[in-house]
Symmetry: C2
Subunit: 239 residues, 2 copies
DNA sequence: CTTGACCTTGCCCCAGGGGCAGGGTTCGAC
DNA sequence: GTCGAACCCTGCCCCTGGGGCAAGGTCAAG
């Protein structure tokens, strides 16, 4: 006949937990000795280890209570199910570990693999970090608003990027961010851009996502992400 | 500018959780649109995914809050620590899985490996399930009350069990459980038992754990685990 | 006879949300 | 133009699985 503390040590739980299980009706209240102390038997120890094992497996206490006096078949099925669940949770934790590792690194955590690859391409191309960041935020927003469309658009955009002329225009737009709105190169850039699209928009339906549109969307998401030169550029192209 | 529902879908959390993070100061409250709806930016999406990843890793929300604006070195150290913790928890879950499997199987969960082996030997010997159960409960109690003594005693008991005469006596005691207290075989059994101990107790210090003592201890733990024949047997041997 | 380690009950506290009430908004279909 | 579905808002109480602390009673050893 052991005390609550000894029982707790044996089963590797706290005294508090045992009293909690009494309250929930999981473990029957044992008889008391003359001083009112609870006195436990070996059966309690066995039951408690069962309870502890199931509780550690994440089984809700209410369900443990039912399981304790279920017939063997039910118990077997339940244990199989709990084990399955445990495997799932282990897999989930492993995935969380992977994500945790990426948390520090790149953007792969926030955008689809395709977009992440695209961002890498931009980096290789020599785009500014500001631009890449802008693009990333734009794609996050697009994926959120409409994942299917974002998927189509990113494919088209990467296709576009295989064109050397488009790449050149893209990079020049990037550089133009810091220009003065009076810069004489802006009208020329606007013309070349309009020109390029007029020759290509029959081939693709890409216009809704061409760079300025993307920039505007991203600008909405990050107030102040546009620039005077870009605003002027938009004027010139739409006017 | 996306709504709370879209953001929640993107990050894989509930709307409720996002509002909870606002309350805890983890994620800043965004601006509202004209109808009072919260409107989120790409930055919020990025932050929320970080929060979600850390939260799934079991990091307390208060700590996540600190981590979000910690310097990179602190963050790196923290992530390493969190990852360690995750590995621990994966290992713990695996151990729980093993225990869960044993929960269904034998008694190895509740007693030391030595005692478990001993119980297996009893089973091979042909002891009754009732007897094995009684022994098991007795050892659980002993291990709880005094693990070191239990360790010594189980070693001595297993040593004793190598003696064929002792094994025979043991099994006869087991069988005697169901006898009538008037059974004529009882006095003879009592004599043979006393005889055996008088020839062997000089060799070992085993008397405190000989079978009747164990039976009595187990009987205390399980009211009604003794029998009229055993009570009579105890009388005959002590008298 | 004290001291420290036990035990008792009772109460409130925590994280991380879930659920529901009771209301306003938006958007597409008819 | 109006109706319903699907959103959104705040506010409140609820849950699990205990932890912590208070204010006392008990026990065993020195």
């Amino acid at each position: 006949m052991i005390t609550i503390g000894q029982l707790a040590d044996y089963a590797g739980v706290t005294i508090k937990a045992i009293r909690h299980y009494h309250e929930r009706g999981l473990l029957p209240e044992p008889d008391r000795d003359s001083s009112g102390y609870r006195r436990y038997t070996a059966k309690d120890a066995v039951d408690l280890v069962k309870i502890r094992t199931l509780a550690h497996a994440g089984v809700p206490l209410a369900r443990i209570k039912d399981l304790l006096d279920a017939d063997p078949d039910t118990l077997t099925a339940a244990i199989a199910e709990i084990d399955h669940d445990l495997q799932d949770r282990i897999a989930q934790l492993r995935r969380t570990r992977d994500q945790l590792a990426q948390l520090h690194g790149g953007d792969r955590l926030f955008v689809s693999p395709e977009v992440a690859d695209y961002l890498d391409e931009l980096r290789e191309l020599g785009a500014s970090e500001r631009q890449i960041h802008l693009e990333r935020d734009g794609w996050i927003l697009m994926q959120t608003a409409s994942p299917e469309d974002a998927c189509l658009w990113i494919a088209e955009k990467r296709q576009l990027m295989t064109d050397p002329e488009f790449r050149a225009l893209y990079l020049e737009h990037d550089t133009a961010y810091d220009w003065s709105p009076d810069d004489p190169r802006l009208p020329a850039l606007a013309d070349r851009t309009r020109d390029w699209f007029s020759h290509h928009d029959s081939l693709t339906e890409v216009r809704p996502v061409h760079n300025p549109a993307l920039a505007r969307l991203a600008a909405q998401s990050q107030p102040g992400a546009s620039s005077p030169a870009w605003d002027r550029l938009a004027q010139l192209m739409n006017g």
